[in-house]
Amino acid sequence: MITGMGGHMTLFLIVTLNGLTLAALYFLAASGFSLIFGLMRTVNMAHGALLLLGGYVGYSVVDTTGSWALGVLSGGLAAAFAGAIVQAGVLGWMQGDELRQTLASIAISIIMADLMLWYWGGLTYQVELPEALSGGQRLPVLGVGYANIRLALMVFALVTGLALWFLIQRTRLGAVIRAGVDDQDMLRALGFPINRIFILVFALGGLLAGMAGVIAASALSIAPGTDLQFLLSSLVVVIVGGMGSVGGAALGALLVGLAEQYGLAYAPTYGAVFTFAIMVVVLAVRPQGLLGRAEK
């Protein structure tokens, strides 16, 4: 699609832009995962399933009501509700036993994936975009067409990032969550029911995952297997960036998004290998991730 002189440069810029927009989507998907890990040290392997659930519910709601915003909201709420059930019903009972939680969440994701396949079938779903986001426009300078939804992705990521930052840094709940990250015992000794806070944070993580699912279903598509793809990408993103750090998730998403797009454009054969190679290298050199705090 790129013609004329300077095609290589233009391609490079457009691929970079693609990397940024993909990074935005990865950040949306990974932020909830990172939040949950940060407070509870829980590696929620059912995160991808929550995301897919949100996507499906969002699709169904948009399909019936025609309102995209309502779809995003209900996808988020459905996943938040499911997340709260997962934490309250299963993972909460194993708090502190990280391995057991990891395994239990794998089991939950297997069950969820199968039940979603049963209900929604194996079709590929795309959520219909509202007028303003559908279609594309000619980019200034680069002079190529570009999808509106991808540009919007960056806005969503920015808004989500800011909202998360505000929630965590500027609200009472955020202060409680930060206190819980610092010292759970002390927080409990001050009268905070940590289990309920965990459920709340899990629901919040689910909300983020669910909304990301609807957005992913709008920008790309969802189908059985999407859960694993986003689980893996979220894992890589937060591991590279540093578990539990929202800033780290942003940095990780940026690295992974760019690596994936450069890989796809310039070395499609080994694109996916790059992503995981980055993760291996980062972990081998800095086991806690780029912005992660070292374990005590």
Partner: protein
């Protein structure tokens, strides 16, 4: 000592890993502030943590206002009226002073954020600072202020004078006196004998995970032999009592 104790500990045992830390501890705390004294490693901090529910006791009971709280999680104990100022203060490193107070502050009750600031003007000056940017004394004030905002019935203070400059030690002692007059019971763990004697009316001495002596502060103040045997430098028959 009151017979209707606010906090009553019966035969409390604690095992921690391979070590048997508390051996049948019995204590009663009423309205008069109680100090627990003893050398390092005698189980004082473990006792505090067990009272707060941060360690599960292996035997015995903890009665607070007449009901057994030994099965409750820490948050329920705090809600029931136990305030805790832990050893090492355990300030949240990523919360500002203001946030520390804001997350625990409730409407009503005797203590408000403003009153904490009145009591500790220094904290007001540093309200925007993060927890890990405070000096030891400031952290201690914050830890106490944070516990007071829960409007507790009983305040458990674990070595609040540890590592503080003498002037601040005396502030803390004065504050404990003030707290007592407001009807808040105090359980004070101390290594600093003089600070403890100045702050409390009764003392219990712990040796090797047991309470070996209970007496009034004045009695201990006048008993040099006792001080030396359990707290000072005299080589004594540890754990054997009189």
């Amino acid at each position: 000592m009151a017979t209707d104790a606010l906090l009553r500990i019966d035969g409390l045992d604690l095992h921690y890993g391979s070590s048997h830390v508390l051996h049948g501890v019995n204590l009663q705390i009423g309205d008069r502030p109680l100090g627990i004294l003893g050398r390092n490693g005698m189980g004082k901090t473990s006792l505090c943590r067990t009272i707060m529910g941060l360690h599960p006791n292996s035997a015995g009971r903890i009665l607070f206002e007449g009901s057994d709280i030994s099965g409750l999680p820490p948050e329920r104990r705090a809600q029931a009226g136990l305030g805790y100022v832990p050893q090492g203060r355990r300030i949240f490193r990523s919360l500002s002073v203001e946030e520390h107070l804001r997350i625990v502050a409730r409407k009503g009750g005797n203590w408000s954020i403003d009153r904490v600031y009145e009591t500790f003007p220094r904290l007001k000056e540093r309200r925007r600072n993060l927890g890990d940017r405070l000096s030891g004394g400031e952290q201690q004030m914050l830890a106490i202020g944070r516990a007071l905002l829960l409007n507790p019935r009983l305040l458990v203070l674990d070595e609040p004078t540890e590592g503080l400059a003498p002037a601040i030690v005396s502030d803390v002692v004065d504050l404990i006196g003030k707290i007592t007059t407001e009807g808040i019971a105090v359980l004070l763990i101390e290594q600093n004998l003089h600070a403890a004697l100045a702050a409390v009316d009764d003392v219990a001495i712990m040796v090797g995970g047991e309470v070996v002596e209970t007496m009034t502060a004045d009695a201990l103040d006048n008993d040099q032999a006792m001080q030396k045997r359990h707290l000072g430098l005299e080589p004594g028959q540890a754990g054997k009592g009189e």
